[in-house]
Amino acid sequence: MQTHAAKRVEIIIEAPMESRLTDALITAGVTGFTVLPVLGGSGRSGQWSREGQLGRAGMVAVICLIRPEALDGLLQAAFAVVERHIGVVSVTDAQVLRAERF
C-alpha cells in the first residue's frame, strides 16, 4: 500500500509537564499526538513506579507522528519544555498511511 515518509517522535516526560508539552506542540503546529501511560522506569534520578501513587506523579509518553520537514520545529518546541526536566526524547523514521491527515 502507498505509505509516506514521516518521523515518529516519542517524548517521555514527567506527568506535571504533560500539558505544558502538548500546549507547546500545538503552538508549534503539530496536528496530532497520543499520550500513553507509563508504569514506572529507571534513570539517573533513580527507579520509580506508579503503583499506589497519588497526585500527578510519574511520567507519560507522548507520541507524535509528523512530516519529516516539521521535525525540527517540533524538537525545538519540545526541547524548550523538557530542557530543565528529566525525561527522554527520541525520533524514529517511519512510514504512515493516509499522509493527508498529517
Partner: protein, 325 residues
C-alpha cells in the same frame, strides 16, 4: 509524660497505624503487595469528600463563629512563614543546596491532608470536638508555602519557573477543589444532606482510612528503600525536629486565635505535617532541578510516620494541657 506515652501507645495500636506499619514493613521487605494507582486515588477522593462534607455540615450546624476568617488567615500566615523556618533549619543542620532546601521547605510549610484526617479520627475517637471549618483552613494552607519557597530560591539567585499556568494549577489543584467544594456542599445541604449520605461517608470512613494508610505505608516504604544514600543524618533529624517546631508555631497561633482544644490540636497537626501531593507536583514544574526523591522521602518516609505515631497524640496532649480542655 506518662499520659502522653499511654496515649501514644493507644494510638500506635489502632488498626490505622498498624495498617501503615504493615505497608511500610511489606515495602521494606520487598513484598509485591501493592494498591493500584486508581484505587489509591479513589480512596483519596473519598476521604477528601467525606472530610470536607463533614466539616461543612458541622459549620452549618454551629454557625460561623467569627473565628473562621481569623483562623484562615492564621493558617495562611503559618504556611507562608514555616518554609522560612524550615529553610533556615535545613541550611544549618544539613548540607542541602539552596535549591533543595527551598523545595523541602515548601513541603513542610504546606500540609498533609491524610495526617489531618487521621488526627480528626483520633479526636473523634477520644470525644474531643473541633471547629468544622478546620478543613477549610487545611485547604488554605496548601499553597502559600510554595510562594515562600520560590521567593527563597529567587533570592538565592537560581531561576524558578513561576507562571500564571502554575498559579492556576496550584490554586485549583484537585485536592483543594474537592475539599473546598465538599465543604461548601456540606454547608449548603447541612444535616439533611448528611442524613442522605451518612452511611457512605461516616460509617466506612475509618476502614477506608486503614486501607489508604496501608498504601501510604507501601509508598513510604518503597521511597525509603530507594532512598539509600539520599537521606543524610541531618535530613532525617530535620524530618523529626521540623514537625515539632511547626506544631509549636501552630500552637502559638492557635492559642492567639482562641481555638478549642480540638481545633488547636488540628492546627498544630497542620503546621507539623508536610505535603506529599500538591507541592511535589508544583516543585517538579517550578524547581525541576531539585531532587524530588529527597522531599518525598523526608515528608512521607520520616515526618508522616513520626506525626502518625508520636506526633498526633503529643499535639493533642499539649492542646489539652494549654487549653485546659
Amino acid at each position: 509524660m506518662t499520659q502522653m506515652l499511654t496515649l501514644a501507645g493507644q494510638n500506635l495500636l489502632t488498626p490505622m497505624i498498624l495498617c501503615f506499619a504493615l505497608g511500610l514493613a511489606a515495602a521494606l521487605a520487598r513484598s509485591d503487595l501493592s494498591v493500584p494507582e486508581a484505587a489509591a486515588k479513589a480512596m483519596s477522593l473519598y476521604l477528601l469528600f467525606a472530610i470536607g462534607f463533614k466539616g461543612g455540615v458541622a459549620v452549618a450546624a454551629h454557625g460561623f463563629d467569627g473565628h473562621l476568617f481569623a483562623t484562615l488567615i492564621g493558617g495562611v500566615v503559618l504556611s507562608f512563614g514555616l518554609p522560612l523556618v524550615a529553610y533556615a533549619l535545613l541550611r544549618t543542620i544539613t548540607r542541602l543546596s539552596a535549591l533543595d532546601a527551598a523545595a523541602v521547605a515548601a513541603h513542610y510549610g504546606s500540609i498533609s491532608i491524610v495526617t489531618f484526617v487521621t488526627a480528626t479520627s483520633v479526636l473523634t475517637g477520644q470525644g474531643i470536638a473541633y471547629e468544622g471549618y478546620m478543613v477549610a483552613v487545611a485547604a488554605a494552607m496548601e499553597a502559600p508555602a510554595i510562594v515562600s519557597a520560590l521567593w527563597l530560591v529567587a533570592r538565592s539567585g537560581s531561576g524558578a519557573r513561576m507562571d500564571a499556568k502554575l498559579w492556576h494549577e496550584i490554586l485549583l489543584n484537585g485536592s483543594i477543589v474537592l475539599l473546598v467544594g465538599a465543604f461548601a456542599i456540606g454547608l449548603t445541604t447541612g444535616e439533611g444532606g448528611m442524613a442522605k449520605i451518612e452511611s457512605f461517608i461516616v460509617s466506612p470512613f475509618q476502614g477506608v482510612l486503614c486501607l489508604f494508610l496501608l498504601d501510604m505505608g507501601l509508598v513510604a516504604g518503597r521511597g525509603l528503600r530507594g532512598a539509600k544514600g539520599v537521606l543524610s543524618v541531618g535530613a532525617v533529624a530535620f524530618g523529626v525536629i521540623m514537625p515539632v517546631i511547626g506544631a509549636a508555631f501552630g500552637c502559638g497561633v492557635g492559642l492567639a486565635l482562641g481555638l478549642s482544644t480540638g481545633g488547636l490540636a488540628l492546627l498544630m497537626v497542620l503546621a507539623a505535617s508536610a505535603s506529599y501531593i500538591a507541592v511535589p507536583a508544583a516543585m517538579r514544574v517550578a524547581l525541576p532541578e531539585a531532587n524530588p526523591a529527597l522531599s518525598l522521602t523526608l515528608s512521607l518516609g520520616v515526618t508522616f510516620p513520626f506525626n502518625l505515631t508520636l506526633g498526633i497524640p503529643t499535639y493533642i496532649a499539649v492542646a489539652q494541657a494549654v487549653t485546659g480542655g
